[in-house]
């Protein structure tokens, strides 16, 4: 789960890392009332899960309240990388002496977290790693022991720095590590970590939290609800369905993430455009299948649906019943192609044939059929 910058900064603040003084607004007019505590020179920043905010004009430094309000109004009407800007962060403009880069990220294939520090802050980390790798220090954090003091010493002695700054940086590193571990983060990036005279301030915050750990973080529940960009995805997740909205017109429902991804791929290979990914999981009952169809049908772009189920634990007759329930209760008018194989497949197919649905026996066949019915 990706956090917005203002949420990441709130977490940093909670763990003792300095962040710029700032407020979050959904309406430009509100800025007048809280603005006076920050000062006149402020930065107005779009809060979206998209890179390149600055280039898109979503980050503006302004010198007066009036300017802050109009900048906010403009930014709040923007769409960056397809994402509408719903909130802006208005914060004090920092007096920056030097910019650093500090991040911790999960290295999934190596099975540990990696901490990265660079004295070239403000740049894209991939560019630093590619062009000036000698300016980037990386170290692995032991999964049981956590970061060790000697490792922090290695980091703070990597670059020329005044001793008091070294101590301050060591403190930030310790706090970031604690925040990262206690929040079950999989990524926490501060770019730039701004040295403002003698204090390190997190000028930006990119934090990603492990979704599998949310059950043990009730304090993040609000964030989870707030951060669903897509209303259809939010609804689906509230119903416990793994659903990702895409931009095509053929709805896809299947059981098993790999199988559903493969179905999307085959539809695409055959010239169709998937509207979504939806995994009903293992052992789904008729009600889950009915709910899935309901969710997919809420997408106005959907002109046809392909259901692809392989029944191991999942029963094909249950799936068929769920499809019938959906057709009846939701007045489904669009074409439906179904492939169901495995446990109780004959029973399932009988149920479908009885209402005029002829199941297909192969995915490619099913893909071609639904694409043909939906039209290109």
């Amino acid at each position: 789960m990706e956090l917005y910058e203002f949420q990441g900064k709130a977490l940093f603040r909670k763990f003792g890392i300095h962040v710029p003084v700032g407020t979050v607004h959904e309406k430009a007019e509100d800025i007048y009332t809280s603005h006076h505590v920050i000062g006149s020179k402020v930065v107005v920043k779009a809060q979206v899960h998209a890179g390149g905010r600055g280039k898109a004009g979503g980050v503006r430094v302004v010198g007066s309240m009036a300017e802050a309000c109009s900048a906010a109004a403009e930014i709040l009407s923007m769409t960056i990388n397809g994402l509408p800007v719903r909130k802006v962060l208005v914060e004090e403009a920092l007096q920056i002496t030097r910019e650093y880069y500090l991040a911790i990220a999960l290295d999934r294939d190596n099975g540990c977290d990696t901490l990265m520090l660079s004295a070239e802050g403000g740049m894209d980390i991939e560019d630093i790693a590619a062009e000036r790798p000698e300016l980037l220090v990386k170290l692995d954090i032991h999964p049981h022991l956590g970061i060790q003091e000697f490792q922090i010493r290695e980091l703070i002695h990597s670059f020329p720095m005044e001793p008091p700054h070294r101590d301050a940086l060591a403190s930030v590193i310790r706090k970031l590590c604690r925040m990262y571990t206690e929040t079950d983060a999989t990524m926490a990036e501060i770019n730039p970590l701004a040295l403002c005279r003698d204090t390190f301030v997190a000028a930006d915050a990119k934090v990603t939290v492990d979704e599998n750990s949310l059950a043990r973080h009730p304090e993040l529940r609000e964030i989870q609800e707030m951060n669903e960009d897509d209303p259809l995805e939010r609804e689906a997740h509230l119903r416990g369905l793994a659903y990702v909205r895409l931009d095509g017109d053929i709805g896809i429902i299947g059981n098993g993430a790999g199988l559903v991804m493969a179905t999307l791929d085959i539809i695409s290979q055959e010239g169709g455009r998937p509207a979504n990914f939806l995994d009903i999981g293992g052992g789904a009952k008729a009600e889950v299948v009915r709910k899935s169809l309901e969710v997919v049908l809420r997408d106005p772009n959907v002109k046809g649906i392909f259901v692809n189920v392989f029944g191991g634990i999942t029963r094909c007759d249950e799936v068929a019943r769920g499809i019938i329930d959906a057709i009846e209760s939701l007045d489904v008018r669009i074409p439906l192609v179904v492939k169901i194989c495995g446990t109780l497949e004959e029973e399932g197919r009988e149920i479908l044939r009885a209402v005029g649905i002829t199941p297909v026996s192969e995915i490619v066949e099913g893909a071609r059929k639904i694409i043909g019915l939906v039209g290109r």
């Binding site: 294939d109 977290d113 032991h142 990702v244 790999g258 998937p274 191991g312 634990i313």
Partner: protein, 300 residues
């Protein structure tokens, strides 16, 4: 003889009295798996399908020697259950559970490495050694005995491919689901090295998906050792940054795309397939082309 488990492997089921645990214990026993004990804290003294239940792994080990464990324990406590069997010296543990926090798995994986144990999963369907034994939830009727090794990050997609292989007369040696999570106990590469040493495996089917760099690492290994591999990679149409069902199926920071994996694998001489039928055809052609074990060079 399977590469991980075989007909005489003595198996423990952790979480045996739960809905999943008991359901699949019955099916594993039907297949012939030698389940010698089960563990559910607080339910010691009971039995499931004739298998004695104990409160702890330690108690179970007093009752019987145990070679492997399969774990059906809820995500909040799964890491602890895994630690328990790993630290009790069980050398082969398969974790079916989905939803275990990543931080927990980092710790468990390190324990498995330190104990020199093989950890399969989490969020995996388990292991089948065709005709001998099964640990986990894969539908037994799909499998037939033969020369094809299967290693996969997915569940039902694997079943589709195995079903088609069996229908085509191309039976399987061992089928392993390594899991759909981002941090896994065992990588593709490790599984490939086990298949490489297995005389009964002639061709390997690798079923991958977006996220991480396991397939790329495997490609490097395959290139170096010249294995006969057919690969299917799911997720070509997945948009970046979105978790596609599996916690590990996500393209992040531009890394882990299906294209990169396909490029790496085909560059290493792997035959790529884009449909179930293509997978079967490629396997058939590799088997026809060689009757040698899965390596192109004979190594003792």
């Amino acid at each position: 003889m399977g590469i991980l488990v075989h007909k005489d492997t003595k198996v423990l089921v952790q979480g045996i009295t739960g809905k999943e645990g008991s359901f699949h214990t019955e099916r594993m026993l039907e297949y012939g798996t030698k389940i010698v004990a089960g563990v559910t804290p607080g339910r010691g003294g009971g039995s499931v399908c004739g298998v004695p239940v104990f409160n702890t792994v330690r108690e179970a080990k007093i009752h019987s020697a145990i070679d492997a464990s399969v774990v059906f324990v809820p995500p909040a406590v799964a890491a602890d259950a895994l630690m328990e069997s790993l630290m009790a010296g069980i050398g082969m543990v398969a974790c079916i559970t989905e939803g275990i926090p990543v931080r927990d798995m980092l710790k468990v994986r390190k324990v498995a490495e330190d104990c020199r144990a093989t950890l399969i999963g989490p969020n995996c369907p388990g292991i089948v050694t065709a005709g001998e034994t099964k640990l986990g939830i894969m539908p037994a009727s799909l499998f037939s005995k033969g020369p094809v090794g299967v290693v996969s990050r997915s569940g039902t997609l694997t079943y589709l491919i195995v079903e088609a292989l069996t229908a085509a007369g191309l039976g399987q040696s061992t089928c392993v689901g390594i899991g759909g999570d981002p941090v896994l106990g065992t990588s593709f590469t490790r599984m490939l090295s086990l298949f490489r040493s297995d005389a009964s495996t002639k061709v390997i089917v690798l079923i991958g998906e977006i996220g991480g760099t396991q397939e790329e690492e495997a490609a490097e290994y395959i290139g170096r050792h010249g294995l006969s591999v057919v690969a299917y990679i799911a997720g070509k149409t997945a948009p970046p940054g979105k978790r596609m069902g599996h916690a590990g199926a996500i393209v992040s920071g531009g890394k882990g795309t299906a294209e990169a994996k396909i490029r790496a694998l085909s560059g290493a001489g792997v035959l790529m397939a884009s449909t179930v039928n293509e997978t079967v055809e490629r396997v058939r052609s590799l088997l026809a082309g060689s009757s040698a074990p899965a390596t192109s060079s004979q190594e003792g």
